[in-house]
Amino acid sequence: MRYGRTGFVVGFLAAPVLLYVIYVIAPYAQAFYIALTNWRGVNASPEFIGLENFRRLFEDSVFWKAVGHNLLLLILMPVLTLGIALFFAFLLNVGGKSGMTGIWGAKFYRVVFFFPQVLAVAIVAVLFQQVFRPDRSGMLNAPLIAAGAEPIGFLSNPDVAFWSVLGVLVWQAVGFYVVLFSAGMASVPKDMFEAAAIDGAGRLSLFFRVTLPLLWDTIQVGWVYLGIAALDVFAVVWVMTAEHGGPDSSTTVMAAEIYRNAFQYFQFGYASAMGVVLFFFTVGFAALSLRLSRRERIEF
């Protein structure tokens, strides 16, 4: 019965482990070393320079702008996305006539809301680049101009561009969390809402005292997902904004700076140092959020 067990285990693991080590583990391991070198061109041989890249990073104002944007996204993207999604999920699932049944047409709304999630971020970025056009050919500026107002430079005004990026990210993410929270709410027994409503709970207390505590685990997962997504933002910034993170670095993020330094300036060592910083942000965020959000679990 155990005949050929070792051969089977080795045979089944060989290909996946080999691929994984070559393409995933090896690059990650190398990245930490490359970050300590001054590797520039493809042909120049790298020289070990210790923490010099990190010292340079410290004085790089563009990189700090990128870090700042990532941190701002880290806070705003989860708050806005989860807030809007919870609101809609609540309306869909307990927004019916008696306050406990799903609203009429809930399925239709969920299908529509979720759709942006299946589109590629790069496609969404190109789409919104057109939507945000600064003249009357832009979907958003056309009615403004028609009403006699000044057009908004959604992507050309450095004070506005970042909020346009945030808007697109939230636009795409909300539907996913509406569906996720709906699934979570559907697993909560209906009598809980019913009991609370009979006890005189209005919609708001239903939401804050019943829905929210019961969904805490799911919200926590969403928080971690969105936080990591906020640290990994790239395509929207790179494709949609002027000068790949502009104007005047007003929208740039760490991933865009890594790509720019590695594949446009060919500063591989320096770009890897940025990657290491991003890595510590990601790990730090994951550890922190798991600690902070630990709370008593409600069994139902």
Binding site: M1, G4, R5, F8, V9, F12, P16, Y20, Y23, V24, I25, A26, P27, A31, I34, L91, L92, G95, K97, S98, G99, W104, F113, F114, F115, V118, L119, A120, V121, A122, I123, V126, L127, Q130, V131, R136, S137, M139, N141, A142, P143, F176, L180, A183, G184, R203, T218, V221, D232, A235, V239, M254, I258, Y259, F263, A271, S272, L278, F279, T282
Partner: protein
Amino acid sequence: MASQSLPFSRSEARERRKARLGPMAMLSHVALALWTILVAVPIIWTFLASVKSEDEIFGDAWSLPAALRLDNWARAWEQAHIGQYMLNSIVVVFFGVSGTMLLGAMAAYVLSRYEFRGSKALYLLFVSGLAFPVYLALTPLFFVVQNMGRVPLIGPFIGLNSHAGLVLVYIAYSLPFTVFFLAAFFRTLPTAVAEAAFVDGASHTRVFFQIMLPMARPGIVSITVFNILGQWNQYQIPLVLLAGAKDKWVLTQGIADISTAAGYDADWSALFAALSMAILPMLVVYTVFQRQIQAGLTAGALK
């Protein structure tokens, strides 16, 4: 008698509850409809712009096209090479997902059902890949793939600017989540059927392909959907690995390039047609499989 001691009757209570919650349903619909518009209008607007003339596109954004200019679609397909890019995406995703599912299921099965020295460590090695940002690996990955191109015999097929090279990278980077998800799934399956098969003399390989894999079908379907969408929508990795060969580009790259690189002499109506071509298949596939897609994408978060 007893009912008189209550402040109000059951039906009265229902009425009061309705009064408290009823008019809100209307407001709910208003809020939900607003977001529906917010989601749908940019997409509908893109479809409309895809059949407008260049002048109409630069005119008022909310005007309707005077005539259906389907030649925009033809130009996008031919001259902007969207047809080629779409074919490339299909080829890469087909082999990428097939490979991911085969290797991922094999690894997950062995790691979840066979104890051996280091099996736990190997599982953790795969799962740890979930925590790393791909941007950290980007630079070294470029050189790893470049060096793979120098391997004798197979090198020319898997180096930079090759679809096979990209497929291997896709598989490797899809493994952490696939292994994590499927290993959890295999652990929940009953062992009795497999043991009966072993008693009947079936080999390990045969048990896997003919018994365990069919039993794991729901999990396989979810994670396949997840991987198809993930690889189809990938932009960053092909941007780095296929930079030098425009004819090899995937769809996301092709469309992003029309808008970023082209500038003022860009063919804007073809850009909208290209966008529509990228959105339309997703819309059709999503409408048909929306249940599986929603389940597949949210499966990871609910685990």
